[in-house]
Every structure is written in structure tokens, then in C-alpha cells.
Subunit: 284 residues, 2 copies
């Protein structure tokens, strides 16, 4: 993502190389054709170190237009975002998200919001009831819509040579985040995104993923030999990645199981339901 | 999305035109630069009419590689997908999703799954507990991860000249869908995606969106004059779009409020919480 987009024609061989870098498997699929957008998507990595370059307002507006071009359930558009550049506010949000220094370092911190408040306000102005809003379904719709929009935004940013990282830690303390952003009831910061121009001196490698045998099912789901093989092989490949990146070589299985071992491993998010109710989501 | 990707250089003027088509506002932002990926993202429209062309296996594999290249919370990769091509199964799923004919018409129907089952199985094999899995946080993480992956997949498909439409209706009857796909406890079909080569004879226009004054906030959230103006103006622009598309000219506000008027307007999704619990998500 850090290199400028190639102006030459890309070949299926370039694609095969990009896909192999993602899986580190000899049986990685070979694409029929390849293009600049696929090259960009496959090259994604999370960026946590930035050059001190601001994001111009017209760049942000362009990225938001890409975000809004994503699909939205029944065209309800139940999401919003807050763009934070103020240093003091970024620092407070970094603290709330588990003291993540890269939120402070990023010139721009985007908060992606599930927003049921806009429709509620519109309904009130029309004297009409929004009695479906308190249902879990509407919260889920809003969170998914925010996800689709944010992913389009990140792809747009990467196409412009910027990079970023999703910040789930913003869910550690939802009420405090809502207070910082002055969110009304019915608005929830689903995740953050720290954004900036990648520092080329600190660029990491492409993080490998589970082989497709683990995630792609045909016709019906199965926990089968293909899944088990993909998981076992991935654990080794991920250990290689950790070694190359200078990280502890614990493998993927141990790392993932450590993350889900219990409520204490959720960094406060074990009380998400309580927090959402306090923020006006009844989750009926 | 239907036209082949331009091989010529794209200019900021092309971008300004694409963004104006998305907002239909005179004050639409002008991008600083433009590229093929931005052109693709801005041109998105949902495709519900397809040519009878199959999706080759290597194309699907390429699209899945793009999906897996999206970020995933703590690298847990708690999503999967089922690719359905069987005509009878597509037809049954179409019925379950509110009798949507385009699911039958599409050569490929993708079901995007929140999948906590894989980690649970891995934990069991290691004799370790996954006590964090039953929390709402983990369900939300899985649903968002599925969303980020699916959006990358759709962008990849569009870059290859295919198109698709998200199918939220798959949440109308979650238990029946789970049975059809043989989903184990802890796996939920978050949404579907009908995919195919767009029928150029039935291509719709770009659907306009709310002006950025409604969705983009600086530093803090506000229900302010900028939001109210964007909503009011959008209602008019959307009415124009409906007229051009031969749809009832009811405007956006009326349409959106009708969708959220009460549990009866949620097509069965008012019982989503109950369905999720039946499918093994405790949502603690």
C-alpha cells in the first residue's frame, strides 16, 4: 500500500504472487486476471506508524464519498462518523482505547458510529414513531453498515497512499467515549480508525491468513478435514511470520485462544450489553 | 461497474463528476486526485439482474483472498462463508429471505457467516476454554469482521466486472437458514450476497446519498443545522432519483420512517435476539 500504484499492466502472475504472500501456501489460488484494485486489496496491512502529514479536507471528503457509496441496508444510512484531529482529544481517546500510542501519533482519528439517532430525530420532527429502532436488529444493521462504509473508506485511503488501522479498543469504555464525542442516545462508536501517511521506515509485512479450506464452504458448512488442515498449517505459517516480524513465536492458535479465554480477556468489553443499554440501545 | 476499467489516466474532473452523481448537490466535494479504485467505489450500485454466466472457481478464490485481506479484530478471523450454486438450495434460500427472485437468478449466492464455532472447536481440541465466546462483544466482532470481508469481496468482484447485492433478508428466518446450510451452534448467517455478471439491459443508476453534512462530524457529534439541511435536501434529490427510476415518488424520509415504524416492519427480525440464542449465541 505504501508504494505508488503501478501504472504498468498487471498480470495474473503478479496476482499469484500477491495471493501467495497472503497465504504462504504452495496451493494458493492463481487468479484468472489481475488489476490495480485487487493489487491494492491484497496488499493491505494495518498501519500504526505515520509521517507527520495532515489529511487535507478534500481528501477526507473524497474518502467519505467512497464510504457513503457502499451499500446500506434499505438505504437507511444508519451510520455517521466523527473526524478527530484535536491533539488533546486524540490523546484522551487513546487512553480510553487501552492507551494506544498510534491513536496519538495519527494525524486523523476516525470514529465510526452506529447512528439510530438521526432517524429518531427525523421521525420526531414528523410526529411519527420509530418503534423498530430499539430492536437488536437495528443495532446490528447500523454496526454492519458502519463496517461496510469504513472498509470502503480504508480502501479509498490506501488507493491515495494513506494507511490506517481499525481500533476495536474504542469499545473498552463506550460511555466515556460517547461523552468525549458528545454522542446522543442511540449513537455508539463501533470502532475507530487511526489514519495517516505510512512511515516507510516502519512498514510491516503482509500478515498471513487462514487457508481458504478453513473459511470457504461449498453449499453447506462443515468442520471437516479441510478446515482442520488449514488451521494446523496456518499455525506454522503464522509462527514464521511472527519470527520475521520480531514478535514472540507463539503461533496463531495459542494467541487466539488467549484472546477468548474469558471475560477478563475482553478488556472491559464483557460489559458491552450494559454499556449499550446505558447509551440508549434497548437491544430488544 | 459494468463498464471495463478505464486504462487511460483519470483526472480530478472525473472524480468531481462521480462524486456529484453520488450526492446530486452543487456543493459536492472535488477530489484532489482520482484513480481507478476510487472510480470503482463511487460507481457502486446494487445489481439484481444478471447474465447467465457462472462465476469460475478461480474467480471466487481470488475474491475470497481479497475478503481475507481485510482487517480482522485481533486476527481472530471469526467469519466464514458458504458459496451456494445449487439451484434448489438457492430457491429455498430465496423463499426464506422474503421470496427475493434475484437470489434464484444469480449464478452464485454467498452467505457471510459470523463464525465462533471454529475457535470453539480449536479450543476443545486443545482442552482449553473459550469462555469469552458467549459475550455480545464476540458476536459483534464476528459480524463486523464478516462485513469488512464481504465489502472487500464485493469491491473485488466489481473490479472484475461482476456485481452483486447484499441480502439482509437472510436474517428474516435465521434458524431455517442455519438448517439449510447445516450451520453448527455459534455460526450465524449475517447477510447474503447475490452475485453475477450484470445484465447491461437492466442496469440502474447510481443511488444518491445524504449530503456529507449529515454524516461527517468534526471533533464531536451534533444534530445541527448542517444535518437538518442535508436531510431535507436529500429528500428532494431522492424523490428525483425515484422518478427517474420509475419508482413511487415518496421521498426518502417517508420511505425510511415506514421501514422503522415498528416490530411488524422488520420482516421477522424483531425476534433476532431469540433466534441468535437458539443458534448458540448467549449474547451475555
Amino acid at each position: 500500500m505504501n508504494k505508488p500504484i503501478s501504472k504498468g499492466e498487471l498480470s495474473a502472475a503478479d496476482g499469484a504472487e500477491a495471493i501467495r504472500a497472503r497465504y504462504r501456501r504452495d496451493d494458493s489460488p492463481t487468479p484468472p486476471v489481475w488489476n490495480e484494485t485487487l493489487e491494492l486489496l491484497l496488499a493491505h496491512r494495518s498501519i500504526r506508524a505515520y509521517l507527520p502529514e495532515k489529511i487535507p479536507a478534500e481528501t477526507l471528503a473524497t474518502v467519505v464519498a467512497a464510504a457513503q457509496s457502499a451499500s446500506t441496508s434499505s438505504n437507511l444510512q444508519v451510520w455517521s462518523l466523527v473526524a478527530v484531529e484535536d491533539e488533546a482529544r486524540k490523546s484522551r481517546l487513546a487512553d480510553l482505547a487501552g492507551n494506544q500510542q498510534h491513536i496519538r501519533d495519527a494525524p486523523l482519528f476516525l470514529l465510526w458510529l452506529a447512528d439510530l439517532s438521526r432517524l429518531e430525530n427525523i421521525g420526531k420532527a414528523q410526529g411519527r414513531d420509530g418503534a423498530a429502532l430499539p430492536y437488536l436488529e437495528m443495532f446490528l444493521t447500523a454496526a454492519i453498515d458502519a463496517g461496510l462504509a469504513a472498509q470502503n473508506a480504508l480502501v479509498a485511503l490506501e488507493s491515495l497512499g494513506f494507511g490506517g488501522v481499525y481500533i476495536g479498543g474504542i469499545r473498552n469504555k463506550p460511555e466515556e467515549v460517547a461523552k468525549e464525542l458528545d454522542l446522543p442516545p442511540g449513537v455508539f462508536a463501533v470502532f475507530g480508525m487511526a489514519v495517516g501517511r505510512p512511515d516507510p521506515a516502519k512498514a510491516g509485512g503482509v500478515r498471513p491468513r487462514l487457508g481458504q479450506g478453513a473459511v470457504l464452504h461449498r453449499e453447506q458448512y462443515a468442520w471437516n478435514e479441510a478446515q482442520r488442515e488449514a488451521v494446523a498449517t496456518y499455525d506454522e505459517k503464522f509462527r514464521d511470520f511472527q519470527k520475521e516480524a520480531g514478535l514472540p513465536e507463539q503461533g496463531w492458535i495459542r494467541q487466539a485462544l488467549s484472546r477468548i479465554r474469558g471475560p477478563e480477556s475482553l478488556s472491559g468489553r464483557d460489559r458491552l450489553k450494559e454499556a449499550l443499554r446505558a447509551l440508549g440501545f434497548a437491544l430488544k
